[in-house]
C-alpha cells in the first residue's frame, strides 16, 4: 500500500475511511475503483449535458448517483459538491447549476489518476 499511502498528501480520498469501508479488502477496493473508473466519465458527461440543456430533473438524478458513488469511495468533498448540485437541481435553480457544476468539476479533476495510483497500490 505504499504508493497509496504516499498519494494521501494531495488526495481527495479519505483513504483510512475508504479502507475501513472495504474492511481492508484490497481486492474489493480494486474492484470498486475499477467500477468507478468505468462509470464515472459517462456519468460526468451526462451531467454536463443535462446542465447544458437545463434539464434539472436529469441533473438531479445524475448528481444523486455521483454523490453516492463518491461517498462510497470516501471522496468526501466531491460528494458534498455533488450533493449541492443535486439540491440546486431539485429546487429548480437552473441559473446556479453552471457554477455548481464548475465547482464539482474542479473537485473531481485529477481524481481518476489518483484512483489509478490507489489501484496500483492496492493490487494484491
Amino acid at each position: 500500500m505504499n504508493k497509496a499511502n504516499r498519494s494521501t498528501e494531495s488526495a481527495s480520498v479519505n483513504l483510512s475511511e475508504l479502507l475501513a469501508r472495504v474492511d481492508h479488502d484490497r481486492a474489493l477496493l480494486c474492484e470498486l475503483l475499477s467500477i468507478f473508473k468505468r462509470e464515472f466519465p459517462d456519468q460526468l458527461a451526462s451531467l454536463q449535458k443535462a446542465v447544458a440543456g437545463n434539464d434539472a430533473a436529469q441533473a438531479a438524478r445524475i448528481s444523486h448517483m455521483l454523490k453516492g458513488m463518491l461517498a462510497n469511495l470516501a471522496v468526501t468533498k466531491a460528494a458534498d459538491s455533488a450533493s449541492r448540485l443535486e439540491r440546486l437541481a431539485r429546487a429548480g435553480e437552473i441559473a446556479s447549476l453552471g457554477d455548481a457544476l464548475a465547482g464539482f468539476e474542479k473537485e473531481v479533476q485529477g481524481l481518476l489518476p489518483e484512483m489509478e495510483s490507489y489501484m496500483a497500490g492496492a493490487r494484491p
Binding site: V22, L32, I35, E39, R61, G68, M69, L73
Partner: protein
C-alpha cells in the same frame, strides 16, 4: 439467511454484496425496484431486503408499498438505503411500509446490527405463524387420529354437496363404523383401542385420493367424502376402503388384532337437493343395514323411487 439488495449503482451494490456475504448472508442483487418486487414475490424469496431509495422504474418506497399489498405472503423486513436526511423523507419512507432506514454511505457494523434486528423480528413472526398454524390444526382436527374433526367434516360435506350439485357431479358419502369396537376397549383397554383407531385412520387416508376428505365422526365412526366420484365406481371404492381396514391385523400392545368395518354409502347425485344432515341420516340407515347384514360389508342407500338399499355383490367378511 437470504437477503435481497436493490441498488442501481453498481459500486454500492458490489460493496453491499461483499459486506453481506462476508457476514454470512446469501445475497441476491438486482438493479431496480421492479426486479426487487419480482424477486421478493417468488416462492422461497429472501425475507430481508435492502432497498435503495432512488431507483429507476420503481423507487424504494414503491417497492415497500407493492410488497405490503400482498398480505398473505411471509413478512419481508425491508430497510431503505438513503442519502436523504430530512424528516419528511424519513416519514414517507417508513409510511410506505419500510421497517427501517439507513443513511448512505453506510457503516458496515451499523448495517449488520440493523439486519440482526430484522432477523429478530422475522424469527418472532415465524414463531407466531407456527403457533397460529398449530392452533388452527388443533381447532380443525381430531386429536387422536389427526383426521378432520366432526365439525369440519360436516362443513366439508355441506360444501361438497353444494359444489357437486352446481357442477352436476357426484359426491359419495361413506359412513363407516368399526365392528365390535367396544370389545376391543373392554378386553384390551382404551390405550389399545386408541392404537386401533389411529391405525384405522391411517388406513382410511391411504385408501382415498389426496383430495377426498376423511373425518372422525364419532367414537369409532368415520365419515369419508369421495369428491367427483363417478356413480359407477362408488361401491368399488367403498369396497376398497372396507378391504383396506380388514386386510391385515392391526399391531397393538395387546398383540395383532383383526378389525373390520361396516360402511353405509350414498351418492349425492341420487338425492337431489337435500340438506347434509338428512343425507347423513340416510347414510346411517345404510350403515345400520350393513351391520344387520352381518357386518364387514358395504350397503348403499337410494331414495324410494330409485329402489332402496341395494346390497353389494359380496357382503360379509374375508
Amino acid at each position: 439467511m437470504k437477503i435481497l439488495i436493490a441498488d442501481d449503482d453498481a459500486q454500492s451494490r458490489r460493496l453491499l454484496e461483499q459486506t453481506l456475504e462476508r457476514a454470512g448472508y446469501e445475497v441476491t442483487a438486482v438493479v431496480d425496484g421492479r426486479h426487487a418486487v419480482e424477486s421478493l414475490s417468488q416462492p422461497d424469496a429472501p425475507r430481508l431486503a435492502l432497498l435503495d431509495w432512488m431507483m429507476p422504474e420503481l423507487d424504494g418506497p414503491g417497492v415497500c408499498r407493492a410488497i405490503r399489498k400482498h398480505r398473505e405472503q411471509s413478512y419481508v423486513y425491508m430497510i431503505l438505503l438513503t442519502s436523504k436526511e430530512s424528516k419528511e423523507d424519513i416519514v414517507e419512507g417508513l409510511e410506505s411500509g419500510a421497517d427501517d432506514y439507513l443513511v448512505k454511505p453506510f457503516d458496515a457494523e451499523e448495517l449488520k446490527a440493523r439486519l440482526r434486528t430484522g432477523e429478530r423480528i422475522l424469527h418472532l413472526e415465524n414463531r407466531l405463524v407456527e403457533a397460529r398454524e398449530h392452533m388452527r390444526f388443533k381447532a380443525t382436527h381430531d386429536p387422536l387420529t389427526s383426521l378432520w374433526n366432526r365439525g369440519v367434516i360436516m362443513d366439508l360435506m355441506g360444501r361438497e354437496l353444494v359444489r357437486s350439485q352446481r357442477e352436476h357431479g357426484c359426491t359419495a358419502v361413506i359412513l363407516g363404523d368399526l365392528d365390535h369396537f367396544k370389545n376391543v376397549n373392554d378386553t384390551h383397554g382404551h390405550l389399545v383401542g386408541d392404537q386401533v383407531l389411529r391405525e384405522v385412520a391411517r388406513r382410511l387416508l391411504l385408501s382415498v385420493r389426496s383430495y377426498d376428505f376423511v373425518g372422525r365422526y364419532g367414537g369409532e365412526e368415520f365419515l369419508t367424502l369421495l369428491n367427483n366420484c363417478p356413480p359407477a365406481s362408488a361401491l368399488v371404492r367403498a369396497e376398497e376402503i372396507r378391504k383396506a381396514i380388514c386386510a391385515r391385523p392391526i399391531q397393538t400392545d395387546a398383540g395383532p388384532l383383526g378389525v373390520t368395518i361396516s360402511l353405509g354409502v350414498l351418492l349425492s347425485s341420487d338425492w337431489g337437493h337435500r340438506p347434509a344432515d338428512e343425507l347423513l341420516r340416510e347414510a346411517d340407515a345404510a350403515l345400520y343395514a350393513a351391520k344387520t347384514a352381518g357386518r364387514n360389508c358395504v350397503m348403499q342407500t337410494k331414495p324410494e323411487e330409485l329402489r332402496q338399499r341395494v346390497p353389494t355383490p359380496q357382503p360379509a367378511g374375508e
